[in-house]
């Protein structure tokens, strides 16, 4: 009951460990059983599809086959990049069944494995699918008054043919979740702009330029915090903020699951705020635990 297949992705055991921990803790609190796909492999990220289409499909398909074999019919991929690669593979399996079957056959001795019926979901879809009372009754520390810039980036919403996003240009589902915590989403212009994180190592001027633009828009919207659901976006906006926003008052960057964790009473230690580059304390001050409830 309530079992969801889990594809952590490579960064969850390194630079995004706090994201993984917050997801697992949240699932635990909500009594959801996250079952890690046995022997999942790297999704290939932005590199495989750039230079080798066959490898891009094979890498994603291999993990999906393993999920299928383990009896899963829904897989949660918390990294937006992994989510996009896995969802794209399911999309290609539907649109190019001949290619998909040939690869699936080559990868697995079982011939009846069909990837088309697998559902790949991201953290937003997962959180939205939880019964709202389940979350509401656990909120012990409403984030009243906290101004949140909801940052989607690219791949949670685009392309809509793959993600099924209802409004890829101006999505509002993260805002809805944030409101349920008592916080106040701001209106801003950069919610779905690319942060350039795939060039973090290979072309740094791109990440600095995009990061600065996103930061400045969040700053002028009056946001206390930027909230997102992608380790690549996080590594860019948190880790590089001191570089692209030197001299400006920093804005903490939280994973959506960390923000929810705060609202349901998880401690700063459990949420590993100490691993963030931009200090998270201002968020705790803006919405102090047990603080104003008059909202």
């Amino acid at each position: 009951m309530n079992a969801v297949g889990y594809y952590p992705g490579c960064s969850q055991s390194g630079s995004a460990r706090e994201y993984d921990l917050s997801i697992r803790a949240l699932a635990g609190a909500m009594q959801i059983d996250l079952k890690e796909i046995p022997d999942w492999v790297c999704c290939g990220a932005s590199s495989a599809h750039a230079i080798n289409q066959a490898a891009a499909f094979a890498l994603a398909a291999d993990s999906l086959i393993k999920a299928r074999r383990a009896g899963m019919d829904c897989v949660l991929a918390p990294c937006a990049m992994c989510y996009s690669r896995l969802a794209t593979a399911v999309h290609s399996a539907k649109n190019n069944p001949a290619m998909a079957q040939a690869t699936t056959k080559a990868l697995s001795s079982q011939e009846d494995l069909d990837l088309r019926s697998l559902r790949v979901i991201n953290v937003l879809t997962w959180l939205e699918s939880l019964p709202s009372e389940d979350l509401a009754k656990r909120i012990v520390h409403p984030l009243n008054g906290l101004k949140v810039a909801c940052y989607y980036g690219c791949l949670l919403v685009r392309p809509p043919q793959v993600t099924g996003a209802r409004n890829a240009e101006a999505p509002r589902n993260m805002e809805g979740l944030v409101r349920r915590l008592g916080a106040e989403p701001v209106r801003w212009s950069m919610a779905t702009e690319c942060c350039g994180a795939c060039f973090s190592l290979s072309c740094k001027p791109v990440v600095l330029r995009q990061g600065r633009q996103i930061f400045e828009a969040a700053r002028s919207s009056g946001a206390d915090v930027i909230v997102l659901a992608c380790p690549m976006c996080h590594s860019n906006l948190d880790m590089r903020q001191a570089e692209f926003a030197a001299g400006a008052k920093p804005i903490p960057v939280l994973y959506l699951t960390q923000l929810i964790g705060l609202a349901i009473g998880m401690s700063a230690d459990a949420l590993r705020f100490s691993s963030h580059f931009v200090p998270v304390e201002p968020v705790l001050t803006a919405a102090p635990p047990g603080g104003s409830h008059e909202g």
């Binding site: 999942w40 190592l201 880790m239």
Partner: protein, 210 residues
């Protein structure tokens, strides 16, 4: 029995695009929307706009009865830095009123440029090519990416040893870079499948680069 592979016969770039993305390049009516929303179509980055890339593919297709001329249009598209600087953000594909998958076109361009040895050789494009090759090789070899290992391998390939040394040090201090490789997963089946499909475990990158 055997499926015709694009590499088995001389095919135009426009044909490859149609095969891979499912749309004909002539569907593009040059409205410029893809270029307008592209974060990388800014001075100093892409050398040809995504809209102009689509135009070159249309010209290649239109002049298919004049092979040298068609080939020249294809060469311009293939040697451009545009596909390497494309961030894969999917804004163009999402916004195209004609259903053209421009981000998919960029994938075709990168793969063809490497296969034909025409990939852009400016410093930025080369760094990006080295990064992709390093990443894919690591993913196919170990099944999972160990971030520190990836960074070091990329630095070895690109020679950018000092860049981000401070950030790296701070990541280590904050427990964001694990020193030891977390896990490896057997990828022999994936490698065998790719060989069987004629893609080669590294997609022919090593051959193309030498």
């Amino acid at each position: 029995m055997s499926v015709a592979h694009p590499t088995s016969s001389p095919t135009t770039l426009a044909d490859l695009v149609a095969q891979s993305t499912g749309t004909c390049v002539l569907n593009c009516y040059q409205c410029g929307r893809c270029a307008a929303g592209c974060p990388q179509n800014v001075p100093g980055f892409m050398d040809i706009s995504p809209t102009r890339i689509m135009h070159l593919l249309q010209l290649e297709d239109t002049f298919s009865n004049d092979p040298p001329r068609a080939a020249e249009y294809a060469r311009q598209a293939l040697t451009s830095s545009t596909c390497w600087l494309c961030a894969g953000c999917q804004a163009c594909t999402t916004r195209c009123p004609q259903g053209v998958d421009i981000a998919g076109v960029m994938d075709v361009l990168r793969q063809q440029a490497l296969a034909l040895g025409l990939a852009a050789a400016d410093r930025r494009s080369e760094d990006i090519q080295k990064f992709h090759a390093t990443f894919l090789a690591a993913a196919l070899k170990h099944g999972r990416i160990h971030e520190l290992d990836l960074v070091l391998r990329y630095k070895l390939a690109s020679g950018h040893w000092l860049e981000d040394a401070t950030v790296g040090w701070q990541m280590l201090r904050r427990g964001k870079l694990s020193l030891s490789r977390p896990a490896t997963v057997d990828t022999s089946k994936i490698q065998a499948a790719l060989r069987q499909m004629g893609a080669g475990p590294d997609g022919g990158i090593e051959e193309a680069k030498t």
